[in-house]
């Protein structure tokens, strides 16, 4: 009986070895020592040429393997590449990625800034496809659902060699997706990157630069962000931070410490009046807003009941209506921000994702209207679209993203 069990285990192990003989293998690394030597690459090239000329094809690599081997040899010094992603997990690549599924549009946007070819993107999440003006190159790309409702059949049908998921947001859902994908096909490398959090965005950019061998591009993008962040920081170093009420697209819902929006308010030099709430996105008592007497109010739109403006450019006239509704909330006429006309509306497209740097520049000019004579958020927006996103800079018209328009 015991012998039979050992036999079954042995057979299972054998089946696994047969099923996945090349997991983690560098192409043409014939001795599997995880280093592709010049000798091994030469041998592979000569075998390929022999086979193509009608000689023996035994052991000869296919063209794709040889191209990948050449890449590993010249770009990675013949070794596998190890990248620590934003979740702190070390991911190993033994050849460049050819077919990827990207389930967060923030990563997709950052990939575009790094000049990663869209031809390697085999499938995207459904939210990317809901932004055809911003992601026109993916209009015909298959959807794999979302982080919250993933379509596993479609993910696997895309035959990806890499899948990109969030690292910290919706981590439970992303953990499950990762585990299920790996359990079905362990050859797929899952990468966890956020690409929206100001505190970690530049690290994420560096990680993507490593994965896609786009170090120069990632350094250029980081320099662009850093120059804006420094310019914004200079303005509020003098002190006098205004009390800010930040409201998400859900009325009376704010953002507290731990959330990306709180971080953006603080980075712009504001003092978030609900920073210390117990949860990241607290429902706040309308009376508490009035009691805290904010000097500036910022309302976020672009989702929920406030879908207008942004890159779609639809119903932009709603901006003024939203602001008017804020001004006429019961009791708000006693709030300094309302009395002094410092109530602003901003679209999430330039604050929520990688474009937070543009939104933060707008916030800073609202928080300190007399300190930023040389900071032009609309110009930053145009530069970002033109130089990094390769999109028409006319998409950056301020009236589509902020109200009142500066």
């Amino acid at each position: 009986m015991k012998r039979l069990r050992y036999g079954t285990i042995a057979l299972l192990l054998l089946a696994l070895v047969i099923a996945f003989p090349v997991i983690g293998a560098i192409p043409a690394d014939t001795n599997n020592d995880l280093t592709l030597t010049k000798s091994e690459l030469s041998s592979a090239v000569l075998s390929y040429l022999d086979c193509r000329a009608g000689g023996s094809c035994s052991g000869a690599p296919v063209a794709q393997d040889l191209v990948d081997a050449a890449y590993v040899f010249t770009e990675w010094d013949g070794k596998q590449k190890q990248v620590t992603d934003s979740s702190g997990t070390i991911r190993t690549l033994t050849r460049p990625l050819h077919r990827i599924v990207v389930m967060n549009s923030e990563t997709l946007e950052t990939m575009r800034s790094l000049n990663v070819s869209p031809s390697i993107v085999a499938a995207v999440d459904k939210y990317t496809l809901q932004k055809p003006e911003f992601f026109p190159e993916y209009n015909a790309t298959p959807s794999v659902g979302s982080i919250w409702a993933p379509d596993y059949e479609r993910i696997l049908a895309a035959h990806p060699d890499g899948v990109f998921l969030y690292a910290t947001v919706s981590s439970k859902e992303c953990d499950e997706i990762e585990q299920r994908i790996i359990s079905v096909n362990p050859r797929i490398t899952v990468f966890r990157v956020d690409c929206y959090h100001p505190a970690t965005y530049l690290e994420d950019v560096g990680i993507l630069g490593e994965i896609f061998d786009r170090k120069e591009e990632s350094a250029r993008l980081a320099a662009f962000y850093t120059s804006i962040q420094n310019a914004v920081a200079e303005g509020h170093l003098l002190g006098g931070a205004p009390d800010v009420y930040f409201e998400t697209w859900t009325d009376n819902k704010s953002a507290a410490e731990g959330s990306g929006y709180h971080e953006k308010v603080v980075n712009a030099g504001g003092k978030n009046i609900f920073a210390g709430s117990a949860v990241e996105y607290p429902e706040v008592d309308p009376e508490a807003i009035i009691a805290r007497q904010p000097e500036v109010i910022v309302k976020l739109v672009g989702s929920g009941a406030y879908v207008f403006g942004g890159y779609s450019g639809i119903n932009v006239t709603r901006f003024s209506g939203v602001r008017d509704a804020l001004l006429s909330r019961p009791g708000w006429d006693t709030i300094p921000a309302v009395r002094n006309g410092r109530v602003f509306v901003i679209h999430n497209a330039i604050l929520g994702g990688p474009q937070y740097v543009i939104g933060t520049a707008y916030l800073a000019t609202w928080f300190y209207p007399d300190r930023y004579n040389n900071l032009d958020p609309a110009a930053i927006h145009r530069t970002y679209l033109r130089d990094f996103q390769k999109l028409n800079e006319s998409l950056a018209r301020p009236e589509l993203f902020v109200y009142p328009v500066p």
Binding site: L41, S42, V45, L46, L49, A63, T74, H98, S117
Partner: protein
């Protein structure tokens, strides 16, 4: 007649602007003595290449500058694995004077082409590439856009001229 000239002109523009892809390899052949020929291959770019040189009837290879693990001689052919080398030479003995022919494959991008004899300016050197899955590649550069643009303008001009517009 004028249409023919126009087609020619735009074809030349297309050729001039069209970007070079893959490697360019030139073979220089020198007679050492009556029975011995030295061939020298100069490689402009491309770091991992496979080259197949066809050896003339009756000739055999007596020397190759590459390490032995980087070349193989079999009936009528010399296969070379080029990994970073910019110049390779080999020596032929015997055979008649007919020129050696050769083809190359650039494994950095999958392009293929013909080894050019010195002074030969046949263009384009590349033939249809290997069938590959797209890898991490750059977007096409301005050269591609310009050449396609020139071709489109040429076709449009000819079309409108034919229509008498």
């Amino acid at each position: 007649m004028r249409n023919g000239l126009l087609i020619g002109a735009f074809f030349i523009i297309f050729i001039i602007i069209a970007p070079v892809s893959g490697a360019e390899i030139i073979r220089t052949v020198a007679k050492v003595d009556t029975n011995t020929t030295e061939a020298r291959l100069t490689i402009a770019e491309g770091s991992v290449l496979g080259i197949t040189e066809t050896v003339p009837d009756g000739a055999h290879i007596t020397f190759c500058s590459l390490p032995s693990e980087q070349y193989r001689v079999s009936a009528g052919t010399l296969n070379l694995a080029v990994i970073g080398e910019k110049e390779i030479s080999y020596t032929l003995q015997g055979g008649n004077n007919e020129p050696t022919s050769g083809t190359w494959t650039d494994f950095s991008d999958g392009s293929t082409g013909t080894v050019l004899a010195e002074g030969q300016t046949s263009y384009p050197p590349t033939e249809p590439s290997l069938r590959l899955t797209p890898a991490i590649t750059q977007a096409p550069g301005a050269g591609v856009v310009c050449s396609l643009g020139a071709l489109c303008i040429g076709i449009a001009v000819i079309f409108f001229r034919r229509k008498g517009l």
